[in-house]
């Protein structure tokens, strides 16, 4: 089923956080807007990043390494190279963390910018190593970087919507149900479903516009 792995990833992240049991965390989530708690946690991480030590850095890695790795994997189409890029990006991020200013941009946006640069390095290295052939330049075995960045940023936000917004959007996008059909399926009032769809879409759009940065 679509979206299953996204849910699994979230549970892994919760589990790796250690500390409190997962169930009590779930129970304490505000039913109105679970994504807001996640936003607050992200903002705290970003604020602590430039001056924080290794524990903060490890938490930043935990939170945003899937974004970096998945973007690189999508562009390079090679999990080993994507792992190398992820390592390079986070080592750069650690060394340059004092140059990150949360007032000037988002942390995922900053990491994505470094990822773009490292991915470009790898593509350049590939084209230098490649034997000159008759292969047309558009058939270079990689996906466009912008498209990959957009897709993975939205996938990351989608994974953080929480329930029921995530299920509602999944039914709309992947099963192509109308809002009336969705309301029937999830047993929620029509108005609630409509309001979830609007809030989720606005949220996806706003986060996406911030994190893709000025590129």
């Amino acid at each position: 089923m679509k979206g299953a792995s996204i849910v699994r990833l979230d549970m892994e992240r919760l589990a790796r956080r250690g500390g409190g049991p997962i169930m009590s965390m779930v129970e304490s989530v505000e039913p109105a807007d679970p994504a807001r708690d996640a936003d607050a946690a992200d903002a705290r991480l970003a604020a602590a990043f430039s001056t924080g030590g290794e524990p903060t850095f490890a938490a930043v890695y935990d939170r945003w390494s899937p974004l970096v790795y998945s973007t690189a994997r999508r562009v390079l189409r090679d999990p080993h190279e994507a792992a190398d890029v992820t390592q390079e990006v986070f080592v750069s991020a650690w060394r340059g963390r004092a140059t990150f200013d949360p007032a000037r941009g988002s942390l995922p946006g900053w990491l994505v910018t470094i990822t773009r640069r490292r991915v470009a390095d790898h593509l350049e290295r590939r084209s230098r190593q490649a034997e000159p052939t008759d292969t047309p330049p558009e058939d270079t075995g990689h996906a466009p970087v912008d498209e990959a960045v957009d897709r993975i940023l939205v996938a990351d936000e989608l994974a953080r919507l929480g329930e029921p917004p995530a299920t509602i959007l999944r039914l709309a996008f992947f099963d192509q149900l109308t809002h009336a059909e969705i309301a029937e399926r999830v047993q929620l009032p029509l108005g609630t479903v409509k309001s979830h769809i609007r809030r989720s879409l606005e949220r996806l759009r706003d986060r996406w516009e911030v994190d893709r940065g000025a590129l």
Binding site: K2, G3, A4, S5, I6, L9, E12, T51, G53, E54, F57, A58, Y61, S65, P66, L67, V68, Y69, S70, R73, R74, P79, A82, A83, T86, Q87, F90, V91, W94, R95, G96, R97, A98, T99, D150, R151, I152, V154, A155, D156, L158, A159, L169, A172, F173, F174, Q176, T178, H179, K194, S195, I197, R198, L201, E202, L204, R205, W208, E209
Partner: protein, 223 residues
């Protein structure tokens, strides 16, 4: 008609049919059309997303990163405004001490000295300078002795630092003398285990007491 309400726009954005009136309004109203198009753009991206688009990297990646960031060499220190105040005070205090003690050392040489630790200094980035740093006990005082050659020409001056192995904090020990050597007292409260990296930087005369991030040579004292 009045503007479309945002809920209606979001439903159209995910692919539901607008009424004839709404469709007409979207053609004529820039404001509503922009709102609808921005939501449709993100909906179009979201619709294509697959199960396995977002994946965590394999575990060995974090292991490699933590190993690499624990490595003290070639870590470039950054200006940290947060670190400014505490070690500005330390540097100022040392500056006062350096004058007096250096004078005393010069006067009383040769004093009996014991070398406690020593490390070669290797060039960084584009530089070719090399040298040696050693911790010596002179008359019961721990001193850092540095001796460098092939320093680049500069309009500024060279400053000797002790860095934490991750370069997250640092202590300015003093400046390098004209003979490319220096004998600088180590502050008594400092543990070399916390600040094992000897670093010499080129500093411009800009009145900024923080590290310029332009390091010439570096070496890590053995534990």
């Amino acid at each position: 008609m009045a503007h479309c309400d945002p809920q209606t726009l979001s439903l159209i954005a995910i692919g539901e049919e607008p009424s004839a009136e709404e469709a007409l309004h979207l053609v004529t109203c820039d404001e509503c059309r922009r709102e609808w198009e921005s939501m449709r753009a993100v909906a179009d991206v979201a619709r294509d997303i697959d199960d396995d688009d977002l994946m965590a990297p394999p575990a060995h990646v974090w292991a490699a990163i933590s190993e690499e960031i624990a490595e003290p060499t070639n870590v470039v220190p950054m200006r940290s405004k947060r670190g400014f105040a505490p070690w500005l005070a330390v540097a100022a205090a040392i500056g006062l001490v350096v004058g007096g003690v250096t004078g005393a050392v010069v006067m009383s040489r040769p004093a009996p000295s014991t070398i406690v630790a020593s490390v070669p200094l290797e060039p960084l980035a584009d530089y070719s300078a090399t040298g040696n740093a050693s911790v010596e006990v002179v008359d019961g005082t721990e001193m850092l002795s540095v001796d460098v050659s092939d320093l680049p020409s500069t309009d500024g001056y060279f400053e000797v630092w002790l860095l934490a192995s991750d370069a997250s904090s640092m202590i300015a020990l003093g400046t390098l003398g004209p003979g490319e050597t220096a004998m600088l007292p180590l502050p008594a409260g400092i543990s070399l285990a916390d600040y094992p990296v000897v670093d010499i930087s080129v500093e411009p005369y800009d009145g900024d007491p923080t590290h310029s991030t332009d390091s010439v040579v570096r070496g890590t004292l053995p534990a």
